[in-house]
């Protein structure tokens, strides 16, 4: 959990879990967000907004780009949560070494 934990052996599986914790909830959130957003907004309209970023995109590309966008935003939020939890000092921590749970 903390930076003071013994390195190597316990490090790798936790890294895998972190990646899952970032990608999975943000994927679910992106599904919901895409559903709501594209129910109201036709992705073809995105061509006409903003600094011509989506000028060349057709509707199908619009759905995909929108989904990946929501996924990315969600992943940033999840990553920040995971980072803040992993780097937090807890009561009982001494010099970054967390006491083992009883």
């Amino acid at each position: 959990m903390s930076t003071g934990a013994p390195p190597s052996r316990s490090r790798r599986p936790e890294r895998g879990l972190d990646i899952a914790l970032v990608l999975w909830p943000s994927f679910l959130a992106a599904c919901g967000a895409s559903l709501l957003f594209f129910a109201a907004i036709d992705p073809a309209l995105l061509r006409n907004v903003g600094p011509r970023l989506f000028a060349g995109l057709d509707r199908e590309a619009g759905y995909a780009v929108g989904f990946l966008f929501f996924w990315g935003i969600g992943a940033i939020a999840s990553a920040l949560s995971v980072y803040l939890i992993r780097t937090a000092q807890r009561p009982g921590d001494a010099d970054g070494v967390r006491a083992e749970p009883p």
Binding site: P13, E14, A20, F38, E60, A64, R90, P91, P101, P102
Partner: protein, 466 residues
């Protein structure tokens, strides 16, 4: 932030799940009532999934959430983005049904209907077919890479990949016409985004059903974590009858347990071997249990062989286990049922009374009224006419609520393509003598080529103050 949050995790969890690589589970094959029920569920559900995509209805794909065209075909019904309400209602109904059935009979969804369970079952069938039963699979994994191992593993992967790819294709076939998609794949002219979605869904199927399996339920599924909130002591759960089974211990077939100081459990561990999530049901209700009933089948079989009554592991309730009566009708069930009935009723009522036509009326903002030739007063409006039907229609505009008021424009019929949003300039006219003041009028738009398609919209007609 305190440490007890972490300490509350089961000890075995922190040792085997989160911080170390998960150990591979080799579920033993089962036979029995619940295995047959689950097999039936797999056949029916996957049959529907792979089959319905190819159904035709009235010249189009029967069930098609046509994202490129932004319209949903649901058999005879065509829905547009304007009909989002129905989708929202449907999602609410789905959530309420999940609550209802969870409170009634526990994790029915997990054991029989969840796509994770259903596809995992299918993938495990392939695994058993190519690699053999549990002990053979374990031996094969331990052994060196021989030609046989290569052939068995290779054919398993090949079948898995083919099934995953076809699943991804079918899934995308619900969002873009599947016959067109099939032709595009056959002629290698498929668009990059359709290919991307097929790849993504195939990958998800392959990974989830082939490799992650029970880990999806244990680590990824939010429902597994909060389903216990719907549970009470009258909910059906799969439980080991501790009073009857303990103390567990091996004994000779046909020998009575009690005189030897033993319970009915012979500690054969078959219930653990068949468990797809690798838990021991005898330790009590655990959140990893997906209520598939495999342990019931295994134990019933053993009890039959031992000559003791079935049901050492069975569907029961906490109340029943403690010798108390179980109530099916209880406040929680009634509330869920009432909400479910309300939501379903609302959905069907609104679907059956749905008129595939929307009329919005906006009064001209520039002028209250205009004096026209021959001492007439004219009002201008902007109409938004949205044809929600899947065929073109012609509509006639009529007006009521005021004497001698007539429609000047549009002069003829309004034509609207399916799914189109049309902006129409409308002008109404009344003789000056009758037009003074504010009149509340009703505009009626009715299809001339289909009976029953008509909408009414209230607005005002304004003349000079007399």
């Amino acid at each position: 932030m305190s440490t007890p949050r972490l300490a509350s995790l089961p000890a075995a969890e922190s040792a085997s799940g989160f911080y170390a690589a998960a150990t591979k589970i080799y579920p033993r094959e089962t036979r029995g009532r619940f295995a047959r029920l689950r097999q039936a569920a797999v056949v029916v559900l996957l049959g529907l999934f792979y089959g319905i995509a190819w159904l035709e209805w009235d010249g189009h794909q029967a069930l098609l959430f046509d994202l490129p065209a932004r319209k949903f075909h649901i058999f005879g019904l065509t829905l547009w983005p304007q009909d989002f309400l129905y989708l929202a209602l449907l999602l609410i109904i789905a959530a309420l049904s999940l609550f209802f059935f969870t409170a009634l009979a526990g994790r029915l969804w997990c054991g029989y209907a969840c796509p994770q369970t259903v596809w995992t079952e299918l993938f495990v069938w392939i695994e058993q077919w190519t690699e053999g039963p549990r002990h053979r699979r374990m031996k094969l994994d331990r052994g060196p890479w021989t030609t046989e191992k290569l052939l068995r593993k290779g054919s398993k992967q090949l079948l898995w990949l083919a099934l995953a790819a076809y699943t991804g294709f079918t899934f995308v076939g619900y969002f873009t016409p599947i016959r067109t998609l099939g032709t595009q794949i056959a002629t290698l002219s498929i668009g990059p985004w359709a290919a991307f979605w097929i790849f993504l869904y195939s990958l998800a199927t392959y990974g989830n059903a082939g490799f992650l399996r029970e880990q999806v339920c244990k680590y990824m599924c939010p429902y597994a974590r909060f389903q216990s909130a719907m549970f009470d002591k009258d909910t059906l759960i799969i439980s080991y009858d501790e009073a009857r089974g303990e103390p567990r211990g091996a004994r000779r077939r046909g020998s009575a347990a009690r005189p030897q100081g033993l319970g009915d459990c012979i500690d054969c561990t078959l219930c653990v071997q068949v468990c797809p999530t690798g838990i021991d049901i005898r330790k009590g209700l655990q959140y990893e249990c997906i209520a598939c009933g495999a342990c019931i089948d295994a134990c019933d079989d053993v009890m039959d062989k031992m000559g003791t009554a079935r049901g050492l592991i069975r569907y029961t309730t906490e109340h029943a286990l403690h010798g108390k009566p179980t109530y099916v009708l209880r406040t929680r069930m009634l509330v869920y049922a009432a909400l479910l009935a309300l939501g379903t009723g609302a959905l069907f009522y609104s679907l059956f009374t749905r008129t595939p036509l929307i009329l919005d009326v906006i009064r001209d903002r520039n002028a209250l009224y205009r004096e026209a030739r021959g001492d007439h007063i004219e009002n201008a409006y902007t109409l938004k006419v949205i044809n929600l039907d899947d065929r073109p229609h012609r509509y006639r505009l009529a007006v009521s609520g005021m004497d001698e008021l007539e429609v000047l424009a549009p002069a003829g019929l309004i034509e609207a393509a399916p799914g189109s949003v049309n902006t129409i300039a409308a002008r109404l006219q009344a003789p000056g003598a009758a037009a003074g003041g504010v009149h509340h009028i009703t505009l009626t738009l009715a299809a001339v080529d289909a009976p029953g398609i008509a909408v009414h919209e209230k607005t005002r007609f304004i003349g000079p103050q007399s």
